[in-house]
Symmetry: C2
Amino acid sequence: MGSTQKKKLTPFQHVEGVRKGHRASIAQTITLIESSAAKHFEDAQSVLEQLMPYTGKSVRIGITGVPGAGKSTLIEELGMQLCESGFKVAVLAVDPSSSVNRGSILGDKTRMGRLSKHPDAYVRPSPTGGNLGGVAKKTRETMLVCEAAGYDVIIIETVGVGQSELTVRSLVDFFMVLMLTGGGDELQGIKKGLMEIADAVFINKADGSNKQPAELAKAEYNRLLHFLQPASPGWETKAYTVSALTGEGMDNIWNVIQSFKQTMKGNGHFDQRRREQVSEWMERLMIDELTSSFYQNEQLQEHFAQNKKLVQDGEKPLRKAIQELMEEYRQIQQKKEK
Amino acid sequence: MGSTQKKKLTPFQHVEGVRKGHRASIAQTITLIESSAAKHFEDAQSVLEQLMPYTGKSVRIGITGVPGAGKSTLIEELGMQLCESGFKVAVLAVDPSSSVNRGSILGDKTRMGRLSKHPDAYVRPSPTGGNLGGVAKKTRETMLVCEAAGYDVIIIETVGVGQSELTVRSLVDFFMVLMLTGGGDELQGIKKGLMEIADAVFINKADGSNKQPAELAKAEYNRLLHFLQPASPGWETKAYTVSALTGEGMDNIWNVIQSFKQTMKGNGHFDQRRREQVSEWMERLMIDELTSSFYQNEQLQEHFAQNKKLVQDGEKPLRKAIQELMEEYRQIQQKKEK
């Protein structure tokens, strides 16, 4: 935020800089958008409004994977490969809390050292601070800024804490899960609902003595996926092996994505999903705002907690508690303005 | 509603009647609670408040299954078996909309003819009308009324349209899924997330020539369940075969439930889940009420739809639209009272 204030750009300058693809402008615009200061809100929205006509033209890819699955290395490899094929690639991250995963986030820029130096790539470390909702809200807008700046592949990664995969799924066209092979029974303990939202599962580190187990894991994943309804209508989610280290199977990632895009554009679900994502996003944000306007009030927050305990202990009926709290909320809203 | 008005009982009379286990009083009390008329709210909450100390002592069982899985027959068999062992059994239903499934709901009383005539059973058909949220809110309270009336096994069934299984899961201790065997590949097309919330899967109609395929299906389900995290900590979800027709495997249902209860009471998760359910329920209802206070206003509803289209068409930034709508909401709230 400090740097935004030092040499404050006008909305017009932000738009100009982003449209020209200036990295510094992109970074400053994202910082402006990420700011939670009320005074930046108008400018940020004005910039976004002017950028809107230039958005929507990228392929949006979501990637998740357990820590140690080799996400960063794979993204860097994929990104380099795409840049060398003439694409412009932006890498963003959704993390529920920078404090919990400080290492992995602050490390992004360093770890993707090669990619972040490439003239056709933009690697954005996660914003520091803010809860998942807050960060995710901004990630959507950050993605739009990158699109307006001419990036045609946007990769959004998450370490998969809490609900972050669902958040990323609601932002992207194609969602892939990166897995590792371990002992025998690796499918146990897969995070609930994760397979149901995947368009592809890539088993990484399929190299050396790990190649055989990875092939077996692939077969197991395919068996499981066969049981589940596909995440995207008309597209069959499958498992693949890959090695970011040797490069084997790396080409295939982009092939799968291309084939996915073609299928989904063909059956109309590509554009439909995007419209639905905006719709869901907006409904969720509306609910968030309404909920905040209640919980932001300390008195209401406290009374809610007290009432919850009473209901849990069987001392007050639930709906009665809710009605009283709503009444209090309305009274506070009125007082505030009189 | 008509009958409640005709011979209106006082809250005290409702409480007395329910506590004595009078069927007519139970029915009238539930009707009072289900009423959406504002004038019934105070009485209903007063009755519930007085009944609260007598609630919470039952085992709450949720059952879902595709139409044709033989849910009603199985519930009736299970209910009869329990009544004959000295239990008092109440059967409630959660249905997303009576208009869609009119047949199955209105048919309940007839279909469970034997059980509903049993002196120790109470079979409540779904309330007519109302959305899922509305009906579900009341189902929780209906369950409490039945508990206060001395029913020690509460069975809540759903046909599984929309999100109704999740709603039922959030109401009960033990959740079971009733399945059928068909051709070979029956596991495909299982509703998303359904297996993850089940404490047991029963494959019904395991009789005659269907017995062998049912055993095979059981093995397949067990394989799938093995992949997934269990719905209840410390409890392994498994598949079983059963025939409500021949009675084979029927005893086992209650054995599984007893064993589940013992395990969950032992590890403390039984009571913990109930407290969490109340907590989630209350948070969800609070959000519902806050959201309603927005969407109930026709002008806001209309402006929301208009803004959504603008955002979808890339003509307005999302957060700007939300901010304008919140501003309008606040102004309307103030005007209303001045």
